[in-house]
């Protein structure tokens, strides 16, 4: 279904104009406005987390520790990890793009539980400010993983306060997850069957299942750490009868699925972007849909691969290794199907497309390096080195952040009603690709050569590669800063967007840009398949 009309006549004011004033934003229950609130919050947290990353990269320019104290370095990478994982990556796509798009994509007026949606934002903002206060008051030096006994016995930072902030934010995740599942179950428009849903909705549904089932386990684990610190109930302290390895089991039972909380939404965005730039139905719709579900399920069974060298049973390690390899199958299905969709299509080369290519390439590198660390013998060599740092940054930054930026550009006209400057969009996308690889590819080599993570000084032979990495980080900083400026500029000076500037299929493009408060004047009846592009399917731009 490609809307040929360039302008959908509408007399209804858009969701941005229907009400004015701060109160109309802070008390809104409109999913689109809540998405904007989330966008502002995660942009702020991304900025804070990036500053900490900058401090790390500046420190690592020279082998000696001369910019930060050892303790200050520990606090910097902890701040970077905590903020980026819980306050940027986890809420970014589900709460911003998911919130905005899911009702539009399934033909609904709003999310099913609008007030819970707003509560989710307040919990994220509240938990974030709480954590920020603790981090500014002196911070914490445990790393984002809060490993015991460091966090319970030896750390002298504000462990409990930061844990409380993460705990509060966990409720935000749970609320968003519940809301997405309930919305997809109950608010699909007539005719919008499960297999007509855009793949973005499928992957966010799978993400939400993880959010709902994994987050409570993190909550209880963190509560037990607090109980040990405050009351001396030594669940993780061997002197008191406890077991420190148990913490790692519980923590990774949440945190490995959390990796897929960060990645699956990005995969959903890419499925939309691939079809829109190819102007073709996605290759193997149901395979891509079910691979999201498979990743969500398998993701719960691989946590032990974080503990290959932590003293768990060899047989457990073998099983976890095998299961970790299995994750490669649904991941590969997605990558192949995206690429196959491009086959024989007349491509639209624009910024979202460049971000898509960035995602696929970096995901491929991150994913294959994941096989290295899933392999028992190889992991013993690279465990706790920069190889692992490079691996998960390729997935969580290279892939997930590219998807977020790609999605932001693609839906920017729908969200704001303005077009972003296309040339600048392309420049930023290419700069991001270059900057990212410059930053993180050397870290693969550094790790393979044996440079351990989490030290503020290193032996001099690693300096050259570290300097390449740090200069790459500067390029990456420019690539992240550029969209902030030109997207803000476009809000005021950008040309007005039409309803469907990309000639893309999907219900969200059938309503005006920006959409009216209740999205659809009449309940849409869906009598077409997802990605309903014309059969010749090779049409490019006009």
């Amino acid at each position: 279904m490609i809307s040929e009309t360039s302008h959908v006549a509408s007399t209804e004011p858009s969701y941005l104009e229907v009400e004015h004033g701060l109160k109309s934003w802070l008390l809104t229950t409109d999913h689109k406005r809540i998405a904007i609130l989330f966008m502002i919050a995660v942009t702020f947290f991304f900025f804070v987390g990036s500053l900490a990353a900058g401090a790390i990269r500046i420190e690592l320019i020279t082998p000696q520790g001369d910019f930060l104290t050892p303790d200050g370095y520990n606090r910097s990478f902890t701040l970077h990890g905590v903020i980026m994982v819980w306050f940027f990556l986890i809420p970014s796509i589900p709460s911003v793009l998911g919130n905005f798009l899911i009702p539009l994509m399934i033909g609904a007026k709003d999310m099913a539980l609008p007030r819970m949606n707003l509560a989710s934002w307040y919990l994220l903002a509240g938990g974030g400010l709480f954590t920020m206060t603790a981090l500014i008051a002196g911070g914490v030096d445990t790393g984002w993983t809060f490993y015991t006994p460091l966090s319970t016995m030896f750390s002298h930072g504000h462990v409990v306060a930061v844990i409380a902030g993460v705990f509060i934010t966990g409720f935000s995740s749970i609320f968003t997850g519940i809301n997405i599942i309930v919305t997809v179950h109950t608010l699909r428009a007539p005719g919008m069957t499960w297999f007509r849903l855009p793949l973005f909705v499928w992957s966010l549904y799978a993400t939400s299942v993880i959010l709902v089932l994994a987050t409570p386990v993190l909550a209880i684990t963190l509560l037990l750490v607090v109980a040990e610190r405050f009351f001396g109930i030594g669940v993780f302290d061997p002197r008191l009868g406890g077991d420190p390895l148990l913490f790692q089991h519980l923590f990774w039972f949440y945190s490995h699925p959390a990796v897929y909380i960060m990645l699956l939404p990005g995969m959903g965005v890419i499925s939309e972007l691939v079809t829109a730039s190819a102007h073709k139905r996605i290759f193997g719709y149901s395979f891509v849909a079910f691979s999201s579900v498979a990743i969500a399920i398998l993701g719960f069974m691989v946590w032990g691969h974080h503990m290959f060298v932590a003293g768990q049973s060899m047989y457990a390690s073998m099983l976890f290794s095998l299961l970790s390899f299995l994750i490669a199958i649904p991941s590969a299905i997605k990558s192949y199907n995206w690429t196959a969709t491009y086959f024989k299509s007349r491509l639209t080369i624009n910024a979202p497309f460049l971000y898509t290519l960035t995602f696929i390439t970096l995901f491929l590198l991150g994913g294959t390096s994941g096989l290295f660390v899933a392999l028992l013998a190889a992991d013993v060599h690279v465990h706790d080195t920069y190889f692992v740092v490079a691996h998960f940054h390729y997935i969580m930054v290279g892939a997930a952040v590219s998807a977020y930026f790609g999605g932001l550009h693609f839906w920017w006209p729908k969200i704001t009603g303005k077009m972003y400057p296309e040339l600048w969009g392309r420049v930023a996308a290419v700069t991001m690709f270059i900057g990212f690889n410059l930053t993180f590819f050397p870290q693969f080599i550094l790790g393979y050569l044996g440079m351990p993570r989490r030290y503020h000084s290193y032996s001099p032979e690693y300096q050259f590669l570290n300097d390449v990495s740090s200069s790459g980080a500067a390029v990456l900083a420019v690539a992240y800063a550029l969209p902030f400026f030109y997207l803000t500029w476009s809000l005021f000076k950008g040309p007005q967007a039409i309803a469907n500037p990309w000639q893309a299929a999907g219900l969200e493009w059938s309503v005006p840009s920006p959409p009216p408060k209740h999205n659809f004047p009449n309940v849409p009846v869906v009598d077409f398949e997802a990605y309903d592009y014309p059969p010749e399917a090779t049409r490019g731009r006009n």
Binding site: L113, V182, V212
Partner: protein, 215 residues
Amino acid sequence: MAGIKAPVSEQFHSAGQRREGAYLGMWLFLSTEFMMFGGLLCIIWYYRLAHEMQVSKAVEHLHYGLGGFNSALLLTSSFIMSLAIQAARKAKMAHLRSLLLVSVGLACAFLALKGYEYHSEYQEGLLPVLTSQAPLKEPAARLFMGLYLISTALHAMHILVAILLGAGIWLRLRLGRLPMPERLTVIETFAFYWHAVDVIWIFLFPSLYLIGRPV
């Protein structure tokens, strides 16, 4: 929690759709509770299997009679909550209000008894935090008491929330703000939560008080 407050319902087309949404939302919320207490139960069972003898030394000291009586109180309150739903369906408002009050009263009795139990354990020097745990020699036995305290206190907090919600609903019924059966969803989703908190206790009670007790 879905359906407890007055719904903002413009996104729904029909009452049935709204009800379906509220039910599903509550079930998902309860699944988070089960995952959280499930994690705790896994920990309890891990230590039970790792240190069977030491843990049974701690189990020996627990007041299983009090715990058993408390279980009976909770189960009765759940039964009465089911009767309250029946009354709500038939719009017997006075009946509904008094059943709700009895149910909430039983939960209050549970908390009072739990408090008394903590007090006796404190006097016997069993509790971590406040006492030296002198009667328990082994670290694993002391740790088990710690897990006992954490899990029962967390459960008691859930009972407290249930009591507050129940009292709030009773007040709204009293003020005539919840016409039945139109707003049945409110009482039903609340009852889901009520029963779930009971079900959690049914797993906690034997895992803490009964198994491993010397006969």
